[in-house]
Subunit: 194 residues, 2 copies
DNA sequence: CTTTTAATTGACCACTGGTTAATTATAGTG
DNA sequence: CACTATAATTAACCAGTGGTCAATTAAAAG
């Protein structure tokens, strides 16, 4: 009554994570269930619990991965060959792009404050923010206070959290994103020069 | 096996709406259920369905009410006795205050794009936004484009959607809100005068 | 005092979802 | 080949959800 799969079809952590990611692209995280992940993988939902202690552990691995991705993205953009203002705009734009192209993950990373999100991911969020703040500081030739940079982040976050669910990919909101980024940058430029 | 309540204890639409509001203050809307509303009211959940067709109808009445409240708030602030710049800041601040003091309602009003929110409330959201845009336009002595005003709204929305769940009342974020509003206003002031 | 009428109950349905214990087939090992 | 560790299946449990409806009963109307 319980045939085991051939070795070639054996379930791996990676397969489960990948399928979860796939579902995250279509639904928000609340609607991604262990049972449905299993169904799509063609395995029983119980099997997943052999590889992951519980749902939280699975989801946590995913967001950890995405915090790394975001950090890498920020570094990469900051170290690019363009001039500082272009790079600053790119930091803003690529943050938005990241948020809109990984909406469910972004939600877990920056929008949930409930029990679902534990202190570990709060810490990861803070670290990513610090990276962001440092990038903005170093790319701007204006006097920006800590509060200014925070407001910039909030403004970008606002864009992502408004358009998420409304568009499914960054490109659909790209024009609006560029306009928003220009608004922010023009505000930054009004600050006194260093 | 089914005693009916005395007249003095009879259920009314208002009681149900009020209890739903109370629950909205503690939990986000996803976790407010017909069953729990009934439990707190000391009635059976079936009783609620005598007064409301379904959950959507109940929730919709609540957000309708809140769109009206927000509209009134915007009018009130715009028509105040202060000078334009103060009033502009107040419009921003009170929008944030509204969002943080009615978090679940704000979520339904401006954050949900799923099936849960129908086209009717989308329309109400647009109307409220138009009111906001007009207020900003009329209170600003600078040349603001449609895109600029949209960016301002997004920046405010960002504040609300970041702090919601993190603080439970506006006052807890008031200092940060003032700082954010000042950031926005200083950006506005860098635009050419009319 | 009797008949309406209106409000309420509670059982029921059909779901979704996480989690776990018992079970069994397979793969690797000696 | 036998044995064991492993990886999977199954079924059940538990807790919740929105929603429906016949039966009941309190209050209102006559």
């Amino acid at each position: 009554m319980s045939p085991r799969k051939r070795a070639s079809e054996e379930l791996t952590k990676e397969m489960i994570l990948k399928e979860a990611q796939t579902q995250f692209e279509k639904k928000d995280f609340q609607n991604v269930s262990m049972r449905n992940i299993a169904k799509q993988l063609g395995c029983s939902h119980g099997a997943i619990y052999y590889h992951f202690k519980n749902k939280a552990e699975l989801f946590y691995m995913i967001i950890e991965e995405h915090f790394s991705k975001l950090n890498a993205l920020l570094d990469e953009t900051t170290e690019g060959p363009e001039n500082d203002e272009t790079k600053l705009k790119n930091v803003f734009l690529r943050f938005i792009e990241f948020g809109l192209n990984h909406q469910s993950q972004y939600e877990l990373m920056f929008m949930l404050r409930n029990k679902e999100v534990d202190s570990l991911s709060q810490q990861a969020a803070n670290e990513s923010y610090q990276k962001f703040a440092q990038a903005v500081q170093s790319l701007s030739s204006n006097q920006l206070t800590v509060a200014d940079i925070w407001s910039i982040f909030i403004a970008l976050h606002g864009f992502v959290s408004y358009y998420r669910g409304f568009v499914s990919h960054f490109e659909e909101a790209e024009a609006a994103a560029i306009s928003h980024v220009n608004f922010i940058v023009s505000g930054v430029k009004s600050k006194p020069k260093l």
